[in-house]
């Protein structure tokens, strides 16, 4: 979170985390394509020649003024491939909320779990416990035949019942906006709580 008093802006950071090829970058591409150019930055992608994320993708959105205040959101993705563990940790630094993008394909459930546990561990390394931290889960690739049931997925990563889950087909932009909206609402609720606590 960064607060600029002079310009009356609050900037928050949201990280899309999840297993390789789950659709994190696709979420950012869709958001980029559905928001007009004067309310977003360019999409920055540090990627390999094969379009796999190497370090991160970055996109900033500028929301309309609310009570004289301009909220800005920075969206990042992590690289999902196993060997980029160190980079994932760096990208998570300073996150105000995370979107976990899970893969619906039955043979990707082990990767979902490993990625979820890795995320939990990195956050803990930054002194953040999942309980009370803004997290939204997106179960992506619902269009694929044999997609796992939502309940099975929840059990696989041992997801607490309060954490919202959105089914998505990011490739067709289904569930992308809903996910973004949900994480932002949670980030803002926590922000307000922290700010009132520091004011007390």
């Amino acid at each position: 979170m960064y607060i600029n008093y002079t310009r009356r802006e609050i900037t928050v950071k949201v990280v899309y985390y999840g297993p390789a090829l789950g659709g994190k970058t696709t979420n950012l591409i869709q958001i980029h394509d559905h928001v007009s150019g004067n309310q977003r930055s360019e999409l920055i992608s540090l990627k390999t020649a094969e379009d796999r994320t190497l370090f991160f993708d970055f996109l900033e959105l500028q929301l309309g003024k609310i009570g004289g205040l301009t909220p800005r959101v920075q969206l990042y993705t992590v690289p999902g491939q196993a060997r980029y563990e160190a980079s994932r940790r760096l990208v998570l630094r300073g996150a105000d909320g995370v979107v976990f993008v899970g893969d619906s394909q039955p043979d990707r459930q082990k990767e979902n779990l490993e990625s979820w546990l890795g995320m939990t561990q990195h956050l803990a390394g930054y002194g953040i416990e999942l309980q009370g931290f803004p997290v939204v889960v997106q179960l992506n690739k619902r269009d694929l035949p044999g997609a796992v049931g939502v309940d099975l997925f929840r059990r696989t990563i041992n997801l607490n019942g309060d954490t919202p889950l959105f089914e998505a087909v990011a490739l067709d932009c289904r569930g992308v906006r809903e996910t973004l909206r949900a994480i932002m609402e949670r980030v803002v609720v926590r922000l307000k709580r922290e700010i009132s606590a520091s004011a007390a």
């Binding site: 309310q39 929301l63 609310i66 205040l69 803002v188 700010i195």
Partner: protein, 170 residues
Amino acid sequence: MVDHGDVASGLSLSPLQEKALEAVLVQLAAKSSAALVLLSTRTGHYISSRGTRHDVDTAGLASLVAADLAASQYITDMVDATESHTMILREGERHTTLIAEAGPSLVLLVVASREVPLGWIRMLVQGASQRMAEITRPAPGRAMPAPAAMVPGGEFADLVGQAIDDLWTE
């Protein structure tokens, strides 16, 4: 693993601190005849910039500058556990690019012409970094000003949700 600076807590600068940082930036830009000096938080939030180049995507640059510094520091941690002041230097054909930490919560980027001597730029950046570190050092017993008044009350979360929907074009 050594951790550098603020992580979960975020950064909020008082208007006084912002002004002081701004003054350091202006001076640095003038003395180095820099095409661009840019200040970002360590987590990649853009703060301010100066210089003759105005066509840059400052938000994107800030995220890259912070990531570059974080990656460099991680590399140093892995091969050499002693903590040091990180400064990344790139000598291009026409420009010198320097990325330096400025205290635990800020990063500084300087892009200057190759005609400006490197030693001079380095000295200016070191001085500016030090002053910025001092400006942002939290004084003991003095809490950051509470921005409570700045955040609208009521249904702020709903309004932000609505603002996300409003961004969307089909």
